[in-house]
């Protein structure tokens, strides 16, 4: 095989297979270029940036719809793109659709709140779309490099977005804190990544899982080898980077400050899209490291298109992916040993995620009690929900270990359902906060008192959203919580049972602070000197468009539930 055929196969792989499935990202890239160019060109600078952004986002949304339509998530076969750097399966498709739908809604919201005016719009939307592309890479990541790339691509624009409101000290402070913290976390993560890749000789998730199998961890642990420690350390360091994106305790400190300092819209962006992408990445890493496909007779043979470009000449620069030798037959025998070779990895991941999730959830809920600023309160609520959403990942890994792959994909489906419902709840909440800020120049909870008299519709919508965040049936927020508890129950290990009990107790715990806001709005008397609240037609319509699904999906969650179930079904073949 010479260089020519290599390049040929590479080109055909890229053009015919990878790029069509990379459509939404390409559309967003093009939109960014158009946005930035339009400012320079004399005639085009008349077009408001929001129009370009809106067209771009809608096109990306259309591009993100799976080829066979919305109900065909189950038919999407898992395939690797760009020689294994990314993976395209039902989960990727679902999360991309989710992110693009969020982008569309977010562009509309930004226009309605007026944050992206004529001068700033180009910068603002380019940053948002840039971060969204990063998130798309995160959700489809199949390689340590793309994992890191995605995290950074999503983070760096977010740092700027946090400080986009110029001339506000708090905003700049938030951006600086976020950037410094993020840089630290990224450094640690990168170190962990290099350790992992060095130890396992690969950065490609499926290959790494195979290497872990070959690594024969049980024997090494029994021999008290130091490599095991290094491996665990590397895993922890990668976990630090993920925990930072997830705002999981103890790497959550940036979250309240950034949410309080940044504008409400950006806070909504960070709490919905960024969290969803981070969770999807957590699934990719956790499942990628702990799940070996049952077709282990072909262990070691990379995907066919990768195999083509995997000759002996190691100095070919594209050989990022599958550096494994044809170490086929001997590793298959390992799987039959009494303790599965991946079991130590699984119990490590389950324990890590399980413990972090309950600490995060409980801490977030407790810290939210004392908050006076509504954005800060919702920041802690986001932390708590992130903890809740991490739980099904732990359950899924545990279920994979027990061989219950169907139940494991149910657990991931629970996470997807959670993320989707969470979009409506939190985007709605932050939209209301942004509108109220525009209307009464305040984000303090006490200034919401007596809102029911000033703007009954907003008060009712906000109350509905808050109770949905508690997880009170028949509102939509209940169903994902139920699915999470179910998956934890099904995993049936002492740790996860404890996690389930803590999670259930947290529901009651979180009631108090959400209820306090609802009480302030609906029961408390209006304070003297509060300004009247005036909301335009479109603003009200947007709030309703967020709050109505919270009620309707609560009454009939069947469709979304089925989509998520189908999307997750392809994860474990």
């Amino acid at each position: 095989m010479n260089l020519h055929t290599l390049i040929d196969s590479l080109i055909s792989d890229t053009l015919q297979k990878s790029l069509p499935l990379f459509g939404p990202e390409l559309v967003l890239c093009a939109t960014i270029v158009v946005l930035l160019l339009a400012r320079v060109l004399p005639l085009f600078d008349r077009i408001p940036p929001v129009v370009i952004a809106f067209i771009g986002a809608v096109t990306a949304l259309i591009a993100a719809v799976p080829q066979q339509g919305l109900a065909s998530f189950a038919e999407i076969e898992s395939q690797e793109l760009f020689t294994g750097m990314l993976v395209y399966d039902g989960m990727t498709a679902y999360f991309k659709l989710f992110l693009m739908a969020f982008a569309v809604l977010f562009v509309i919201l930004s226009q309605l709140t007026g944050i992206a005016d004529r001068d700033d719009g180009q910068d603002y939307f380019s940053l948002v779309f840039g971060a969204t592309i990063g998130m798309c890479i995160m959700v489809s990541s199949n390689h340590l490099l793309t994992m890191f790339l995605g995290v950074e691509m999503a983070s760096v624009p977010s740092y700027v977005l946090a400080g986009i409101v110029k001339g506000r000290r708090r905003s700049s402070e938030a951006a600086l804190k976020y950037a410094v913290y993020g840089a630290g976390a990224a450094g640690v993560m990168l170190y962990g990544t290099s350790l992992l890749a060095g130890l396992l000789g690969s950065a490609h998730f499926p290959t790494m899982a195979q290497r872990l199998v070959e690594f024969d961890l049980p024997t090494r642990i029994a021999d008290r080898e130091l490599t095991v420690m290094v491996l665990a350390l590397a895993g922890l360091m990668v976990g630090v980077g993920l925990a930072f994106k997830l705002s999981a305790v103890p790497f959550h400190f940036w979250c309240p400050d950034v949410f309080e300092g940044a504008s409400a819209e950006v806070a909504g962006f960070l709490s919905v899209a960024s969290k969803a992408a981070a969770l999807a990445l957590l699934v990719r890493v956790a499942i990628g490291m702990t799940y070996e496909p049952p077709t282990s007779d072909k262990l070691g043979s990379p995907p066919p298109d990768v195999a083509v470009i995997q000759p002996a000449d190691v100095h070919a620069p594209i050989l990022l992916v599958a550096q494994q030798q044809a170490a086929g037959d001997d590793s298959a025998a390992v799987a039959t040993t009494k303790e599965g070779p991946l079991d130590p990895v699984r119990s490590f991941v389950v324990t890590l995620i399980g413990v972090v999730s309950i600490v995060t959830c409980t801490f977030g809920n407790l810290a939210a009690y004392g908050q006076r600023n509504i954005k800060r309160m919702l920041a802690y609520s986001t932390i708590a929900h992130a903890g809740f959403m991490m739980m099904p990942v732990a359950a899924a890994v545990a279920l994979v270990g027990m061989g219950k792959t169907a139940a494991a994909s149910e657990a991931i489906a629970a996470l997807m359902l959670y993320a989707t419902i969470y979009l409506f709840m939190n985007l709605g909440a932050f939209a209301i906060i942004a509108f109220m800020r525009n209307s009464m120049q305040s984000e303090e909870i006490k200034d919401y008192s007596g809102l029911i008299g000033r703007s009954p519709l907003i008060a009712v919508a906000f109350t509905t959203i808050l109770f949905s965040l508690v997880g009170l049936p028949p509102l939509a927020g209940f169903w994902p919580k139920l699915r999470v508890l179910q998956s934890l129950f099904e995993a049936n290990s002492p740790l996860l049972m404890f996690v389930m009990v803590v999670a259930a107790a947290n529901t009651a715990l979180s009631l108090v602070y959400y209820l306090r806001v609802a009480k302030t709005m609906c029961i408390d008397r209006e304070a003297d000197g509060t300004r009247p609240v005036t909301l335009g037609f479109f603003q009200t319509a947007f709030v309703l468009a967020m709050a109505l699904p919270v009620v309707l999906y609560g009454l009939d969650p069947e469709r979304i539930a089925r989509w998520t179930q189908q999307a997750a079904s392809g994860l474990f073949q």
Binding site: P473, F478, L485, A508, V512, K519, I523, D556, P557, E558
Partner: protein, 638 residues
């Protein structure tokens, strides 16, 4: 729309108030009278629908003397999660549904005096009614749970917005207590769901649980043939999975068919190889833990001592109509849950813990009565009387009196569930009677409070002279609460106390003695409020005679109190067959359970008595498991 279909008729009954609430949301501002009359119309219409079940007016009828579920229907709701829209009525739920619709009208008339945010009040009130009716009809555990929670939000705001001075504290206390209870319930639901197995049931039980439908004639007229056809049907996803699981012979690969169907769970719980008997934690079985969690959840609602502290606060702060609903209907849900869910699904745990449940009931009775004696606030006194009266319900439900040791032949035990049936019937009767008398008592307090704006028992007196008609009604209703023979409160109490005598004489003596305490606090209250020479408290000039509106509320309550007291059969005819059947099933189950335990003891012999004692202490052993352990332990003895 065809009203003769139960799914339409019963759904309409449940959701008519919610639809009304939705319609009210679009009423323009300022039309308060119109909003009130619309709401009243909707509550009356709902009541008419529930009355329609007494007659065969529309083809949907509730027949007397039938023990099984009637008018049952099911439809898929969230098939992905295995949740059904399954409802039905039997003698346990039907009286409670009628009570709910009846009290809804009366309490809405009582809320005519509310002038603050009338529209919001009406919307929340109607949503509350939907939740209440739905809880009593739901037969899918999840539907039950969702509707149970539906009531929380309206109730929170109804207390929190329209309540008294400490309304916010009372409202959040109510909310938190109930939410903690329902979280426990949720965990129990998951425990039961993941251990349930529909494939254990025989065709008859599947028909009874509404999984398989029997037609009046044609090929599906008997349970067996209907089952045979159902299990072969291709279009039913459940039947398909049922068939697959049944076909799996390898026990290692055998999976379970989980279900949320309450009736199916009851059969699974009483099955001899019940999967709920597996050990869960600390040597106790799954059903033991589920029973504990569910019982705590329901005991909060009842409320039983020591989980009752939300009730006095909520009652005192809530406006009069909401107190009526709270005492009249919401507390009954606790009792209903214990009867419908705790005992039939977790019989072994109920058997094990029967004495503790009875003790909780008796402690509530005594505690509530003493606390009521100590109150100076009229409404608080009535609230504590509710705690005491609902103690009878818990006691009656918990009584597991099985039969008697023979006097002539020592050691022979005859199983006879008659007293047990009497206790449960008494508890059910007490729930309805208390629904009427406590709603009436709160109404009477409200009438006075509307006029003089205080509730201090020591500042009343001489009301009889100022408001003779009202005082007449009030005294009848208070005597009904006291349990005077001839009024509704008597029947339930006497049934319960009689049945307890067979179970535990100590508890029977204590519970009978509570009657004296009850008489003391009620008579003392009547004396301090209604009797006496003249009224000396504040706002004496406002003590005007009863309004026609108040008259309309007082008359039906008084009439019902008298009718049920004089002719209890009117209620028992509807209620008794279902209650008796459920108790009989549990009694049969207990007989089987005792027999298997006895067999185990005997086979173990004298010298291994310690083992024999240890095994029944950990109840989870199934009869099948017992058999094997008997065989294995018997062998060395030979």
């Amino acid at each position: 729309m065809n009203l003769s279909d139960p799914i339409i008729y019963l759904s309409l009954m449940v959701f008519l108030p919610a639809l009304g609430a939705l319609a009210l949301a679009f009423f323009p501002r300022g039309k308060e009278e119109a909003v009130r009359y619309t709401t009243l119309g909707i509550t009356i219409l709902t009541f008419m629908l529930s009355l329609g079940l007494f007659f065969d007016a529309r083809g949907v009828e509730f027949k007397t003397g039938v023990a099984d579920m009637q008018d049952m229907f099911s439809a898929p709701w969230i098939p992905t999660f295995g949740i059904q829209y399954l409802m039905g009525l039997d003698g346990i739920s039907f009286p409670l549904v009628v009570l709910t619709t009846f009290l809804s009208i009366l309490s809405f008339i009582a809320s005519w005096s509310i002038t603050k945010h009338v529209k919001a009040f009406c919307i929340l009130f109607l949503l509350l009614e939907t939740g209440m009716i739905g809880v009593f009809m739901a037969l899918d555990f999840f539907l039950f749970y969702v509707l149970w929670e539906v009531m929380l939000l309206p109730m929170y705001f109804l207390i929190g917005v329209w309540g008294g001075p400490r309304k916010e504290y009372a409202a959040i206390k109510f909310f938190l207590y109930t939410l903690v209870g329902s979280v426990l319930m949720l965990i129990a639901i998951l425990m039961l769901y993941f251990n349930s197995d529909l494939t254990l049931l025989n065709p008859q039980q599947l028909v009874h649980a509404g999984v398989v439908k029997v037609e009046a004639n044609g090929p599906r007229s008997t349970p067996e043939s209907a089952f045979a056809e159902w299990v072969e049907s291709e279009d039913d996803a459940l039947a398909k999975r049922f068939r697959e699981i049944k076909a799996e012979t390898d026990p290692a690969k055998k999976r379970q068919l989980h279900t949320f169907n309450i009736l199916a769970l009851q059969h699974i719980g009483q099955h001899e190889d019940s999967p709920f008997n597996r050990e869960a934690w600390l040597g106790k079985s799954i059903q033991w833990w589920a029973f504990i969690l569910l019982f705590i959840g329901f005991a909060i609602k009842v409320p039983s001592v020591p989980l009752h502290t939300w009730l006095p606060d909520a009652h005192v702060e809530a406006p009069t109509p909401i107190s009526m609903i709270l005492a009249g209907v919401l507390l009954k849900m606790g009792g209903y849950g214990i009867l419908r869910i705790c005992y039939p699904i977790c019989p072994a745990a109920g058997y094990d813990l029967a004495y503790i449940v009875c003790l909780v009931g008796v402690v509530s009775m005594v505690w509530g009565a003493f606390a009521a004696l100590a109150q100076n606030d009229f409404k608080r006194m009535v609230a504590y009387s509710s705690v005491s009266h609902m103690g009878y319900v818990v006691l009656g439900l918990g009584v597991w009196s099985l039969g008697m040791w023979s006097a002539t032949t020592p050691g022979s035990f005859t199983y006879n569930a008659d007293y047990w049936k009497m206790g449960v019937n008494g508890a059910m009767f007490q729930m309805i009677a208390h629904g009427i008398s406590s709603a009436g008592m709160f109404f009477c307090v409200g009438v006075l409070y509307d006029r003089v704006h205080h509730r201090n028992l020591n500042e009343f007196g001489g009301i009889m002279a100022r408001m003779p008609v009202y005082s007449g009604f009030a005294i009848v209703i208070f005597f009904a609460g006291l349990g005077l023979p001839g009024l509704c409160g008597f029947i339930g109490e006497v049934f319960v106390v009689l049945s307890v005598w067979k179970y535990s004489q100590l508890l029977a003596i204590i519970s009978a003695a509570v009657v004296i305490l009850t008489a003391a606090y009620i008579l003392w209250a009547i004396q301090r409020v209604y009797l006496g020479a003249e009224y000396k408290g504040p706002h004496g000039e406002a003590l005007t005679p009863m309004l026609p509106r108040e008259f309309v509320i007082a008359v039906p309550l008084t009439v019902m109190a008298i009718v049920l007291g004089v002719y209890p059969q009117a209620l028992l005819n509807y209620m008794q067959p279902s209650v008796d059947q459920q108790v009989q099933q549990l009694a049969d189950w207990t007989e089987r359970f005792d027999a298997s335990r006895e067999a185990l003891k005997k086979s173990l012999g004298e010298e291994e008595e310690q083992v024999a004692l240890a095994v029944p202490a950990s109840l989870p052993a199934t009869p099948a498991a017992l058999k094997t352990s008997i065989e294995s332990s018997a062998r060395p003895a030979q």
